[in-house]
Structure formats: structure tokens, C-alpha cells
Symmetry: C2
Subunit: 338 residues, 2 copies
């Protein structure tokens, strides 16, 4: 893990994200304009809360995927802009609701909205942004893409419910974890790519290929995110280290270390996932056990498999700078979740 | 108030709802089938939570409005079924989220979902149902109706945010209250009617007329609901008496009684709307002040004005049993919110 925490790794990551972002640069600026415009409401408080989260940055990975997918399929219209804003709105709405569900207090390096304005406001503004996402889809007017995003929204909620039900359950097997992340994360990465291809009237093969790329990339992304919850530096992560641990989320490194652990270690994991108010000492102990069993390496290996799948899915596309950037994006995700 | 609480009044109400329901009977049964089918998920817990609320009854007023509006406009297809299920899903999703926001513990005569399964599950299952609503809209495939429902969903959230922001604020004027209920309640009544007309390819005049009917009926309905929060019998209301009072919701009867009240009464209202854990004694005092100033009569008078507007809006339709039933529905709402 050590090397991936070095400053250089973060520089590489930034460069990679900048690479793909620069290829869709003008479009992304337009998307940001649409996001600002569409989160407006006569109720001033709504854009105030929404912009706290949206302006705090975020990597705009999902809208970049929509823009890049459309571009890769030769799209020349303007509908990709609204669609890209739309996937970011869906993502933002789920972040607001997830922070309520997880009782998180940090997001994107700032106090989370539920801490600043209460759970109630976060639930309602999440609903508002979700509704705006569908208004944008109606403006796009592509029923098939709309169907994909509506279905994906339901799958996202299912994934979050699965995760909530499995909270603190150390008995879950890796396959269950992969099912959860496919549903709660990979599904929106997949849809973000697919809808970009769909509005381009791309062939079914290309839509499928980009969907596979997005799904595999999304799972890779979430695994790395889960590793970083134990192993990253708080400031770069933009949220608290050990949030998953404190919230009782049983992620891939923990599943692995638990099953590899001896009786004493198993008892430790069982005890900490049953109690609240875990402190730094327990987090440090957890990190030590994770390192002892090379649980981060194990997780990164699994992420690598998804990364390979993602890159393979793009085989049918001709080599272009944009395709290269999409391939690089996956590789750099392996070094750092962003 | 006394007479409207007599058993006879409830009989009349039931009859009225039965009248219109009987006219769309077969369709409503089909809608219920679609609701049950579409709330299914591979995650068993989701239909379990959803059916707790959906099977607990509810009056299905909004789907009835969609079915009746389509029928009034001579619709002969099948799309009204999915649309009717869709408006009920949107309504159910907002109920789940509202109970989280309001920290309610009763809904439709049963413990509310947030009490039984926690706020987290209610937020996520609400999101799931909301997504399913949009999946149903995609199946209907009518982009204009989809646009109306997406916009309405945003307006519903805005209304809830307005209400949340004004929580405990006794200084709001009646107009602000009317703005809130138009947004949080009347908008979905309006949309439920409009989309029924839209899929019927009705004339713009008929769509507008049904929208006006729905909007005015919705405001009437909410005013009566707010009166009943202080004046109904808990069992019939299906939720706790005094919920709005305990939650600090400043509704029409309170605005009126507060502004009519003397110094001592104003101090009472200010004190109780600032504190939590209000008890029966304070509710009884509030009810006494409301009765003293005839605040229920005042609210009912306002509801009556909306009722008249609603009925007037239907003038352009030829007299049919269905039109009569829609007119009766408004009248009976005045006697009892359902």
C-alpha cells in the first residue's frame, strides 16, 4: 500500500483524470453550467444545500463517462450535455441520501449536508435533485436512455438496501460483496456509458461494450474506494478514514481478513462490528490485521481483474486518444480511487 | 366540528368514495395488481416494507383521479393503468420520506415504516418506489405526461422543503400556507388528473380544466386534513391526533387562531411551537383556542372556496355519472378528509 500513498501517485491520478477531462473539456464546462442552472429553485435553500455538495468538487467521473462514450460513438449533437448533468444529479441525490443512511459527517473534504442542515433537508433536496434528473431526461427525449436510467435508479436503491441489510454481517461471502457493489456503484457507471452510446445511435455491440466497460470500471472503482477507507490519507480521500469501519460496512478487505483470521482476530472483528463508537485504537488494530493478511493486496488483485475486463470491453473501438484516455482512467483507478 | 365527527358522516364519506371507485372499479383492481407487481424486487425486504404501507389501505385518491380523468376524456386504451400506479408510487415514496422528515410514528392506522424498520430503510425504499414510478412512466411512453410527473416530483420536494423551513414559524401568513399546500399536495392531485387527460389526447382546454379541478381539490383536501389533525378521531384518521402540533407544523387553523389570539394565547402558541415533547394537556389547550376562535370553521370556509373552484373547472364536461362522482368527491371531502 505504501507506494500508492506517495505524493507522486496522486500526481499521476490527477494527470489521468485531467487527460480524459481535457478531451471532453468544453462539454464538461457546459455540463457544469447545466448543473448549476438546473439545481436552481424558487426555494433558495435548495440550491444552497445542493451547491455545498456539487461545488465541493467531486470528480464528475460519471458525466465524463457519458460525454466520452457519446464522443467515442461519434455523437455530434447536444443531448449528451443534459444526459451527463442528469447522471451527476442522480449520483448527487444518492450521496445526499447515503450520508443520511450512513450517518456520515464528512463528504468531499467538508462537513456533509446532513450535519450542516439535518437529515430532513438532505432527504428532501435529494428527492428534488432526483426529480430534476428526470426532468433533464425528458428534455433529452430519448425514451430508451430514460428507461435505462430509471431502471438503474431502482438498482442503486436495491444495492443500498442490500448493504444496509448486511450491515455488520461478517458472514457474507465475497460474491455477496460483489453483488452489492455491482448494484450500488457499477450500475450507474454502466448506465452513464450506455446512455452516451444510445443517444449516438451506436450499434447494439457498441452500447453493450461500453456498458461492460462501465460496469467493470465501476466495480474496480468501488473496491479501491473500500481499500482507501482504511488506507488513504483523510485529506485526499475527502471523507473520514475508517468511515466504513465505524458504520459497520463489511467490505472486501474485511471479509478477506476476517476469514483468514485466527480465533482471536475473528473475535475482534465480531466485537467491533457489533458495537458503536469505535475509537482510533480499534481502527489501528483493524488496519494492522488487514495489513497482516495482505487484505489490501487481495482486494487490489480483485480490482485488477475488473480493470482487465473493463479494458477488454473496449477492444471493438478503433484506437483514438479518447479510447486511450478511457483505458488509462481504469489503470489509474487501480493506483488511487478518485 | 361536532356533526362531522358523527358516524353518519363517515358513512357518507365512504359512500362518496365508493361511488367514484365503483365507476373505475375494474381499472382500480388492475392498478392494484400493477402496484403489487411493480413493487417486487429480488431484495425481499423492499416489497415487505413497501407492502406494509401500500396494503395498509390508503384511499388511492390519486390513481382514481387519473383513471377518472382518462375516462372522462373518452380514453379507451390501457396506459391509464400504469399511469395510475405511477402516481400512487410517487405518493407512497413521498409518504415514506415525509414520515422520516416528520419523525412520525403512525401512518394509515399502523406504526409507520420508519418506526418498524428505521429511517434508513424508509429513505431507500422511498427511492426505490420513486424509481419504479419512472420505470412505469417509460413503459407508458408518453413524454409529455412524463415531463408533467417529473416536474411535479420536484415541486413536491420544494413544498416539503418550504414546510420544513417554516417549521414552528407562527409569523407565516395564510398565503404562504396556501403556497405550501399547493406545492406539497395539490400539485400531485393536479398532475394525476392532467396525465389522465393527456394520454387521452384530450384538447388543451380539457387538460387545463382537469388540472384546475385537481389543483383546487388538492388544496381543499389538504386544508381538511390539517383541520382533522386537531379535530378527528385518531382511529378514523389513521394517524395520531395532534401530529402536526407536535411536529411544529403551522397549519391554517393555527395561523388563524394565533393571529386572532390575545397576548396570553400568542405566548402559548409561541411557547409550544418552540418546545418538543408536547403533552395531551397542551394539545387540549390548543384545541380549545382553535375552537374559541372558530379556526376550524375559518379553515373549512377556505376549503369551501377551493371546492367551488374545483367544481367550476369541470363545467366544460358533459354531464355523466363520472362527472357527478367527481363533483361529489369534492363535496364529501369538505365533510371529511380521506
Amino acid at each position: 500500500m505504501g507506494s500508492t500513498l506517495a505524493p507522486q501517485a496522486f500526481t499521476n491520478r490527477s494527470t489521468a483524470l485531467e487527460n480524459i477531462t481535457s478531451l471532453v473539456k468544453g462539454d464538461l464546462a457546459t455540463v457544469n453550467g447545466v448543473i448549476i442552472q438546473e439545481m436552481q429553485s424558487e426555494i433558495d435553500f435548495i440550491p444552497q444545500l445542493a451547491s455545498h455538495l456539487i461545488s465541493a468538487g467531486g470528480k464528475r467521473v460519471r458525466p465524463v463517462l457519458t460525454l466520452a462514450s457519446a464522443s467515442l460513438c461519434g455523437y455530434t449533437g447536444q443531448k449528451h450535455i443534459d444526459l451527463a448533468a442528469c447522471v451527476e444529479f442522480i449520483h448527487t441525490a444518492t450521496l445526499l441520501h447515503d450520508d443520511v443512511v450512513d450517518e456520515s459527517n464528512m463528504r468531499r473534504g467538508q462537513p456533509s449536508a446532513n450535519v450542516l442542515w439535518g437529515n430532513q433537508a438532505s432527504v428532501l433536496v435529494g428527492d428534488f435533485l432526483f426529480s430534476r434528473a428526470f426532468q433533464l431526461m425528458v428534455r433529452v427525449g430519448h425514451l430508451e436512455a430514460l428507461g435505462v436510467l430509471a431502471k438503474t435508479s431502482a438498482i442503486l436503491a436495491e444495492g443500498e438496501v442490500m448493504q444496509l441489510m448486511d450491515n455488520g454481517n461478517l458472514d457474507i461471502v465475497e460474491q455477496r460483496y460483489f453483488d452489492i457493489i455491482r448494484s450500488k456503484t457499477a450500475s450507474l457507471f454502466k448506465a452513464s456509458c450506455e446512455v452516451g452510446a444510445m443517444i449516438s445511435e451506436a450499434s447494439p455491440e457498441k452500447i453493450k461494450a461500453l456498458g461492460e466497460y462501465g460496469a467493470a470500471f465501476g466495480s474496480c472503482f468501488q473496491i479501491i474506494d473500500d481499500v482507501l477507507d482504511y488506507a488513504a490519507k483523510g485529506r485526499e480521500l475527502g471523507k473520514n478514514i475508517g468511515d466504513d469501519f465505524r458504520e459497520g460496512k463489511v467490505t472486501l478487505p474485511v471479509i478477506y481478513a476476517y476469514h483468514q483470521g485466527n480465533t482471536e482476530e475473528k473475535a475482534f472483528w465480531e466485537r467491533v462490528f457489533e458495537q458503536n463508537n469505535l475509537d482510533q485504537r480499534e481502527l489501528t488494530q483493524a488496519q494492522a490485521y488487514l495489513l497482516k493478511h495482505k487484505a489490501f493486496d487481495h482486494a487490489r488483485h480483485k480490482a485488477q481483474i475488473f480493470a482487465t475486463q473493463a479494458k477488454k470491453a473496449l477492444t471493438i473501438f478503433d484506437p483514438t486518444p479518447l479510447k486511450t484516455a478511457l483505458l488509462d482512467l481504469v489503470d489509474l483507478c487501480l493506483e488511487r480511487g478518485y
